[in-house]
Symmetry: C2
Subunit: 404 residues, 2 copies
Amino acid sequence: MSPPPITSVTRQLSRRSVFEALLHRSPISRADLAKVTSLSKQTMSEVIDAFEQQGLVRPVGRTRGNVGRTAVLYELSPEGGHVLGIDLGAQRLTVALADIAGRVLAEADEATDGRGGGWALDQIARLSDRLARDNHTHPSRIRSIVMATPGVVNPRSGAIELAPNITGLDHLNVVGLLGEKLGSPVVLENDINLALLGEIWHGCARNVDNVAFLALGSGVGLGLHVNGRLVRGENGAAGEIGYLPIGGDPLQAESRPQGCLEYQIGATGVVRRYREAGGRDVETERQVFDRAQAGDAVAASVVEETARLTALAAATVIATVDPQLLVLGGSVGARADFADKVARLLLQLSPRPVEIRTSILGRRAGVVGALSVALRRLHDEFFGVAELAATLPLPPPARRGASQ
Amino acid sequence: MSPPPITSVTRQLSRRSVFEALLHRSPISRADLAKVTSLSKQTMSEVIDAFEQQGLVRPVGRTRGNVGRTAVLYELSPEGGHVLGIDLGAQRLTVALADIAGRVLAEADEATDGRGGGWALDQIARLSDRLARDNHTHPSRIRSIVMATPGVVNPRSGAIELAPNITGLDHLNVVGLLGEKLGSPVVLENDINLALLGEIWHGCARNVDNVAFLALGSGVGLGLHVNGRLVRGENGAAGEIGYLPIGGDPLQAESRPQGCLEYQIGATGVVRRYREAGGRDVETERQVFDRAQAGDAVAASVVEETARLTALAAATVIATVDPQLLVLGGSVGARADFADKVARLLLQLSPRPVEIRTSILGRRAGVVGALSVALRRLHDEFFGVAELAATLPLPPPARRGASQ
DNA sequence: TTCTTTTCGTTCGGTCTCTTGACGAATTAA
DNA sequence: TTAATTCGTCAAGAGACCGAACGAAAAGAA
């Protein structure tokens, strides 16, 4: 429940590998843990004793059926710590709760409070509290919270810099306010990035290291996962492919605020193009897609052009970062018919074929990704090793006249 | 000279941090090392004794002028190990030698043996051997070799998959053959990636974490450095921006083999466009750029268009990965007049301005980057800690019906 | 039912590494 | 020549690891 006391680096490394083994192979006995981690039985008993005393681990029965003495089996206890994932969308607010072992305990969602700003934050606090209590978890037991939000999140300050879809959120200190309301540290991350991480953890991109996630819905966005990490960009603006110079003249004044590509294939762009081509009586991009499927020729050509531009964007991403897998997501991108069109066009555009899948988590992707990051942070808080800097920094160039 | 014997993890961590301090602050006394690393004087003496016995470290005089007893100063000894960097270009072959402290001891270059293949490898071996002997280093002391090569290097096998510019290289087992000739393990890496790392280590991007390197010369290519690591891509094909759908119809048959963008702004593309516009008597893209500067209006418009397409490619990269710094390199890209044009155009294309610099290492960038990787590998061989995996892997989704 | 075999988990002794404190050695400042 | 200061070693003790030995507990065989 509280982070394990740090003693020596050696012991911390042992704890860490015991925890890792518990994560992936519980329930498991101390004897097996010792084999898996190649620590001695002695050390193992010490570590497990400490874990049990902290409430991180609990015994669950004994082995049966094997020759020899039975062994006590242990698993990670739900009391060990909880994490909360939040997806704050323009339409829907989703919240999910998981324990330290990554078991998803509960999810809940509501329509987002349309008044935005502080009201939305209050709503989040209410919903989170209810979720915790319904699962017999005191909210104070939650040790790590991650929230998905549309717009750009500054990777250094963690603040929202541009949230076009939710009113009055970009001038609030969301991290501070929400942290206070919920009583635990809150971290924000872009919703598309988290949807990508969701698909990597529980979705269609499980265990793939090198993934691009192209989201097409009300807007267009990209998430990149490379070398096992998210690509955030210096300002958190990586993946803002609405600004790609595709689908029109990037210098044209009308399209500059949203970006050239978004102007064409964002929801309002699709509707606008349908109207310009003579289509009538539409409000949402969804109607255009539905009509195309129902045989409306004008709608079909708008959809075709949307798919063409999406394929160009995908080809751009593929040429730039060479992913192993391209995931199509978002309310439009995940439509099977649309994804097929894009895949077909892409075959002609890209020198080497790339596997394409559609999101299987759909609207849940963001909240699942938020959980995965919250979980990572909790694990790092408990079992991180400070000394574990990646690589040694190289020395700077020799100063002129320095000693040989 | 040989890797330090591994004993306990704790001791390896101590050695590692002592070495890091030596890298950045030598010459330095044991007393100061103890302060910097926050190890005890006792431990420090033990570690330094061991280092000295291995030949990794040597005493260089004593402190002077301070109150109290003088201290023995130590520095990393050049005998501690050497690394070799190689840049195999279509025109020139460059080789450089450095010691374990990152001091560049010597460089040499020659015109590449035009017969390619095995001849080029022999030439590399000859030049490397000479470089080592001229610096009183027996070639067997070299413990790590990295070579820059044009084309795509498979990140898993380390083999060259596509080397259009050097004949007969893509069907050779370069890693194996060269490793045998030189007597040390050889690692290959794409030349643009290494030029980028060169600029990050010794060039215009020193200590910047988030860098895009756009190279324009005979071809066009991109290197990306994100989260402190190179972006290689699943097949080593990240940065192959010749295939970006910019500057023409990407489906057009004529441009498909090299890629749409490369067809326009690669060297042959520039020359072709100049001829198509009525220009005469040119062989190389360099002449076109020189004539533009000399006042040739046709050449100027070709250059202008080249700059425009380059700026579009840059805007694409910026929207996708949001780098802190964009470096322009390659024989064309590094020209100040050309870089200025690109920077001006980019201001109008990109929603947020990004700093632009031109390569300052020029042709040396590749070999310097090769040295930096070779050095990193040597350091990791000596002072890596296996237990230091980045983060704990998350558990997979719960199987249906698994124990609660 | 009893004995044998196998495995679990604890106890004990020994090793490695790190730290602290004490102390002699070496140097500057008074 | 003495005092102050810093360096570097020595010795003692603590934390963490491992392997060996051993009792405990279960399954299987007689």
